[in-house]
Symmetry: C2
Subunit: 500 residues, 2 copies
């Protein structure tokens, strides 16, 4: 009798526990599902072939991730970018992402696309003079010794090189001015200003080199080529539109520089008709006064008038933390807001609530079409809502943010949260050549492997590519998306063919 | 005539531009206001005195912040905690935060509260034997040579010390086992496992030392004292409740260990009746099998039965990334969910979407009262909603997360976003003694200066303190909040008196 009571009680207990457990397991599944359904790309339905390719890609992703969890010291993507940027090129996942149609590149600066080796090669050209200063190297093409001031003296580059005694060392030194990559970034780049200071050397060294009109045009042509080869179909490029020069003392203003770009683009489109073109975001330096910005906005209007299809809009550039917050120019930006579209940099900072952080408010207030970086946006819940309401694209540059010291371990990049809540993200690469990465593949690799959830799959990749078309200034969206789909199908086919 | 038309047009343009600008400025103010109104603490209305104290505090905060923006290399809080933890003690802001009533300390582990110097002093006690192994130092109190295995041999500690030839060096070596603090953390703690490995040395070295019953009780008494001196009025402490021992071969099980704590607490409350008490969260190790967890849950029930006012709830501890995700124990946790309250660690990881990350799902599913760490929660928008809906407190340990390598620059800690959107945050300190910081002041300083917005003021500080009372397991909330308000008023008075 007692035995029966006891076993009945046990049975009841067991049944209740089991029911609760089943409930709990189902509820857990629901929670996971709800979370995944909020993720960027969750609205994409994969075809049968895409599912096959997805299996291949996810197997590779999980293999790399799970090895990292076991051995975090070996997990590349959480370390400094310089330590793994070349090694990952051996990864099959990297190869697939390189082949993948990535849509548009929407955040890049014109003189930062090509590699230091490319720039070094330029220094072998005739008529190039060099001036070695304490920290800087400056270049100038000229038929005679340049008149520009030089702390030491102008020498013909080829003479300087071959009288140096050690051409290899000489070239390595020159090359170091074209790259931020060093062996010991943790020791040298101790804070954000230290790395930006070195970045200034880059701008000074490349200025006289790249603003020589023939090189300027070749550089842009070769940039378009590099972008196309990284399986990008369309480009929006930011430029300060510097004054160009030639051997004969001619100077070319911003309008003429824009004209140069337009001519090169036309030539490139003629040579590579499968490319979908490029547009210009005129982006002069921010560390100036209001009158200067007003002048630049007038130039923007003029460029728009002259090249309505080539001009995308306006932005200002330079390290945000150093001052000249956007609100300084609010009167000018308001005044011209009906004349030009804005594509403002904002929130490339981790100073929470300081004037530079508030550039996000100005950008959104001024109905910016997209936000460059938006790194600090995660700390602004109301602005996050506004970004969604106004459908403002976020140009996230994850590799740039790690190289330029905003975040150490990319797993802490706010992109993880942006992707999780399906914010309008596109990936950019900022100045990929300066850290010797591909125009977009490295950024996709780091974002996919290091930042996105282990569950994020081919759908997040496809959505990021589609977002880049949707948030671009390219007019005929149907046409470009249609062509993207064709290329995407070919990519899926090839992935299955080569990797299964 | 033309002149009139032209000037009228100019006037119209000017007026329109001015109106737009005024609109823009007002709209900008609104955006900023809305954002600030969402912040943690925004519901608090400051009295006149509080406003005066707030001015003092904000002046100090802005001074430290603005110096940092100008000279980021000099900004302490963005660097490694070890490099500034002592220096900031000179800061008047730190002094004020030390004096500030901070409410309750809800996330701390019992053997990590006191400093390495405290532990070192314990090694001068009689009857202490030491065993030096390859990486570890182990201790045991005994009347004769301990029987426990030792890779080398057990020696009387005082003999070992004074035969070492260099007591200072000997003690420094011993002390290093009680602390994670080193001069070159960037070089030694290269990844999360490296720092956790050293953390294991701490646990091994302190085990035999602190589980000696007389020390165990003294350590808890002195911990309560340190907590009270840091202007904390109430404590919830996690403990694995290890087996204690004494000189006479007696062993004390988890229940007896809990009894020890209860007795010490009673004695402490008698000595310091202004303290508001402590509760126990029984938190055994997670790296065990299901049967073991079931056994621990039975013990938890028993402790709850014996000490209903002292027992708060149950948790499991240990580096989350190493395995044993919470879902392993889902059947057991579901079964006991009506018997004990849960206070689960979850999301102390930056592996997005991996099994360890999903501990957050289990914790929330199981109606955890609070979440320990919740570092990864920012990557889970649906869980963020659930946390708010279920009113689950988030025990954020910002210093711990930086020391244990989850985040390098605390400005990237998700706490910034949690504060911005007024999530139910409380600050904890995890194992403050192991990184030689105060029970809570360092965490408040880092959170206030390094993480919260420049605009976050006294209200965020007060709300964090109030949250710690609200999300505690302390029953009589009215009583403790009333006493808090009295102390707060005194603190405000003193701040105005000494700092204006």
């Amino acid at each position: 009798m007692w035995a029966t009571v006891v076993s009945l009680q046990l049975l009841v207990l067991f049944v209740i526990a089991f029911d609760d457990l089943q409930d709990a397991i189902e509820h857990r599944e629901q929670l996971l599902r709800k979370e995944l359904d909020m993720m960027l790309g969750s609205d994409i339905v994969l075809s049968d072939s895409e599912q096959k390719a997805n299996e291949i890609i996810m197997k590779l992703k999980h293999h790399e991730l799970d090895g990292g969890l076991e051995n975090p010291g070996q997990f590349n993507v959480s370390k400094h970018f310089f330590s793994y940027k070349d090694e990952i090129k051996k990864s099959p996942l990297f190869h697939i992402l390189r082949q993948m149609p990535k849509g548009a590149l929407l955040h890049t600066h014109d003189t930062g696309v090509l590699s230091p080796d490319y720039n070094l090669k330029l220094t072998y050209m005739d008529n190039l003079y060099v001036c070695f200063e304490e920290n800087d190297i400056r270049f100038h093409f000229s038929l005679d010794t340049p008149k520009d001031t030089c702390e030491t003296r102008w020498q013909l580059m080829n003479e300087a090189r071959f009288s140096s005694g050690d051409v290899e060392k000489f070239d390595a030194d020159i090359r170091s001015h074209f790259s931020l990559v060093i062996d010991n970034p943790h020791e040298v780049y101790t804070d954000i200003n230290a790395v930006w200071k070195r970045f200034q050397y880059f701008f000074i060294a490349t200025h006289g080199l790249l603003t020589y009109k023939p090189i300027w045009e070749q550089y842009f042509y070769d940039s378009l080529k590099a972008v196309r080869e990284d399986n990008i179909m369309y480009l929006e490029v930011r430029s300060v539109l510097p004054e160009l020069y030639d051997l004969y003392g001619n100077k070319y203003d911003a309008i003429a520089t824009a004209q140069s770009y337009k001519d090169v683009l036309d030539r490139f489109m003629n040579d590579y008709p499968d490319f979908y073109g490029a547009k210009l975001i005129y982006a002069p330096l921010r560390l100036v006064d209001r009158a200067t910005i007003r002048g630049k906005l007038e130039i923007a209007k003029e460029i728009k008038r002259k090249f309505p299809d080539f001009f995308a809009g306006f932005d200002i550039v330079g390290q945000e933390d150093l001052g000249a917050p956007s609100k300084t120019f609010l009167p000018e930006f308001v005044e011209y807001s009906n004349e030009v579209d804005y594509f403002f940099h904002a929130g490339e900072t981790n100073w929470n609530g300081m004037s530079t952080d508030e550039n996000l408010f100005d950008a959104i207030l001024l109905d910016t079409r997209r936000i460059g970086h938006a790194f600090a946006l995660i700390k602004h819940p109301h602005l996050l809502n506004e970004v969604v309401r106004k459908d403002i694209g976020l140009e996230v540059n994850v590799v740039s943010n790690s190289v330029l010291k905003l975040v150490e371990d990319v797993r802490n990049h706010p992109l993880a949260a942006f992707l999780a809540q399906n914010l309008p993200v596109v990936l950019g690469s900022d100045d990929n050549g300066v850290w010797e990465s591909d125009p977009l593949t490295h950024d996709f690799y780091v974002a996919f492997l290091g930042v996105s959830s282990r569950h994020a799959d081919l759908r997040v990749l496809k959505k990021l590519a589609l977002n880049s078309l949707y948030y671009s200034a390219y007019k005929n969206k149907d046409k470009i998306v249609h062509e993207f789909e064709i290329r995407w199908t070919r990519f899926i086919h090839d992935t299955i063919k080569y990797y299964r």
